[in-house]
Symmetry: C2
Subunit: 456 residues, 2 copies
């Protein structure tokens, strides 16, 4: 990949200006008020892909948000890489914790600060620019397809159907994704495992209206107190999840695998310091790396009910809500877990309240063997640009669509993530270091090179 | 009290028009945006009291919201009645559950619907109109003082100091209050016991920022899960409060008293039906009447944390909050309980989070002996207008200032409440039946009459 560093150096200001344009579109998929912004982002991306060198690019309508698809075929006999990414971003609240407005990107201390700077506008755009480099310098060694969706943060409901329907069109030898992280700027890593996800909204209804807590308190069930008790009972004293059959399908990691996992560089003191916590907290019998890598979890993502305004209001509320999510590990099935939780939570509810559980979205866990050609090609790419062999890691995060690709298309995904833990994705002040952004653009073309060579 | 029914009949439209004017001032004491409305309400009331016949009326500034004070002295040798009430109202949320706007009173099915229709604008205004009747018909048998505050719903912080400072000015033989309820329109009752109140806001802090629940979930304490567990642990399996020494000072009711209490008309089936619940829920070993009358409680009035918007956001939040209140019974001390809870809650917190408890307000419980002259006078007043002896009841609600009057001024309060349980005070669609409003205006003058006679 001759001249890649020079190309980046020469065009870096333009690359950033373009990325900033993309980021400024507030494409929050979970908030219906941003529906039109999803179209803006999709159209913007279409134009960007055409400008970078795609033969054709199209914005596909779906039942939900649109999908931008583009392709460049140089020779049907060459292998095809399908780049997957997402243009949608997470909501920005709590907005008051952002130092600068989330959709007005700003560079501070060598980092781009904005919602989507990393996840996944910044990382996704690296692929557009790496593609541009290969096209403009006549070094593209594979056919390329881009499939960028607008619903990753809400579980990819449209893409799930769309990619089955368009199976022929999007056919590829490997799917390439940058939507994960690496251990550190000097410790490259490739994610080979992803946790699955199940997500529910729970509604607990007590009396048919908010009551005076003095006149009724003590005699009528308070839905917040009941919800708290029900949430508390999901974990036992060892932080083991108590839902019957929850762990039935978990593929327990072997002792050897656990030993290997725990060799990854990790300082508990630095971890605690970075998070501002005095103690870690998790399932007994597992290390922090294991807790986020090979163990399923159950976390409350949100809770609300009663009076939450300024000052004090004595009320016994009628309703309380919680959003609860579970991270799943191979071999758990998100649909089965969704049903298990729903049945459990509705059944353990005391008769003094009514409990309704709605399943919002889910995804299967995923594992990529480190023996396949594509993994080896990625490994070599990092070795070329970082001078180091990347470490294969199991991430705690979920990209439900990745396991869907595996099942529905029969195609593996290579997760060349360039994010850092400090990027604060999904949080206020999300950021992406310029180093990582440009290093990504530099590394990606080598993947194409080595992958094409491996198929010769 | 000659001609009281005729006077009411003749003036009822004006009485309602005046009350509606008063209600339209959105005097929500706990929301700082309504600060000016508190002054508007105070000034409005001052004018209303002067028009009704007060010798003088003044709006007193305080550190918080203003107090309207008025008096009419007819003869220093006659007994003095101090009328206490409050012009502030509760917040209106959840606003979407109101059938008509809370500050635009409307009469439907013989009831006034509005925030404050009962609590305590409607009930307080009955006293202004009863006073007007006695003045205009030259039948006022006592000296009268009015002390109407603007902070009852937030624990009366200003009045607590103000009434000690103005002890001489507000000196009286009895304090008369309508801020409670009666059993039914045909079953008059007088509240002789009030529960005390302690109110806290709890903040649970986990990591220093919202985290990605995939990358950190399972390894870092989730403050919502922890808060839920802590709330769950406040009650044991019998719904007994587990805070050490919480019940130490509770004056246990005798078996005889409990027997008497349970003779009050009460249908569990109707109670459940009215609230739309399948089962009641409370402390084991006590009836519903006992649970709200003689037992202390601990209820979560509000809870919030994490993502509470539309759709699903996977986040491990940094902070979770709860507003928690406790109803106290004689002989519990709210300051002691406030401290007990704070110490307990902060101490049982696991090290993986930081827990802060702030005490927002409180009040002592109160009991009025049914043997004093003033109680007997009230009893006779009800007998005159309802044709029935009122039942003395212990209410579950709290009016912290009442016990403060008892302690600081040495003056008992008579709680002639005309509200009904169905008035939905503190809730959406608060209402007050016209029957109760006019019956209150009719009954109050008889209290003055019999009380003055008892002092001759």
């Amino acid at each position: 990949m001759k001249g890649v560093q020079e190309y980046i150096e020469k065009n870096k200001d333009r690359f950033l200006a373009e990325l900033f344009e993309y980021i400024r579109i507030p494409s929050v998929s979970s908030v219906s008020a941003h529906k039109q912004d999803m179209y803006k982002a999709a159209e913007w991306l279409k134009e960007a892909l055409l400008a970078a060198g795609a033969d054709r690019a199209t914005v596909y309508e779906t039942e939900g948000h649109p999908i931008t698809y583009a392709e460049k075929t140089i020779d049907p006999k060459l292998p095809t890489v399908l780049v997957y990414g997402h243009m949608d971003v997470m909501p920005v609240d709590p907005i008051d914790l952002w130092k600068t407005p989330p959709f007005e990107p700003e560079i501070r201390n060598g980092k781009i600060y904005a919602r989507g700077a990393d996840d996944d506008k910044g990382q996704g755009f690296m692929h557009v620019k790496a593609f541009e480099f290969m096209v403009k310098t006549n070094q593209l060694p594979c056919n390329v397809k881009f499939m960028i969706e607008g619903e990753e943060e809400i579980g990819s409901p449209a893409l799930t159907k769309w990619c089955v329907k368009n199976k022929e069109m999007i056919k590829s030898d490997i799917i390439l994704v940058s939507d994960t992280g690496m251990i550190a700027q000097d410790i490259p890593s490739i994610t080979v495992g992803l946790r699955g996800l199940a997500y529910w909204q729970v509604k607990v209804t007590g009396p048919n209206r908010d009551l005076h807590s003095g006149l009724f308190g003590g005699a009528v069930a308070n839905p917040i107190n009941i919800l708290a008790k029900m949430i508390a009972n999901i974990h036992d004293e060892n932080n083991h999840i108590t839902i019957p059959h929850f762990y039935d399908d978990v593929l327990e990691a072997s002792n050897e695998e656990r030993e290997l996992l725990n060799k990854a560089p990790f300082s508990l003191e630095e971890y605690k310091k970075a998070l501002g916590i005095a103690e870690i907290h998790g399932e007994k019998g597992f290390t922090t790396i294991e807790r986020v890598g090979i163990r399923p979890t159950l976390d409350v993502c949100g809770i609300w009910g009663g009076y939450t305004g300024e000052g004090s209001k004595t009320v016994l509320p009628s309703v309380a809500y919680a959003k609860i999510s579970s991270r799943l590990v191979p071999n758990q099935n998100h649909e089965k877990i969704a049903q298990l939780f729903k049945e459990y939570f509705e059944n353990v509810a005391p008769k003094c309240v009514k409990v309704e559980v709605e399943s919002l979205h889910g995804g299967q866990p995923y594992v990529c063997p480190i023996t396949i050609d594509a993994y080896k090609a990625a490994e070599k790419a990092y070795q070329t640009t970082f001078g180091k062999q990347p470490i294969p890691v199991r991430s705690g995060g979920s990209i439900p669509i990745i396991s869907h690709f595996n099942q529905a298309l029969g195609t593996k995904s290579i997760l060349m993530g360039f994010g850092l833990e400090s990027d604060a994705i999904h949080s206020p002040n999300e950021n992406f270091p310029l180093f990582n952004f440009f290093k990504g653009i530099e590394t990606i073309p080598y993947f194409y090179k080595y992958f094409a060579e491996s198929k010769k």
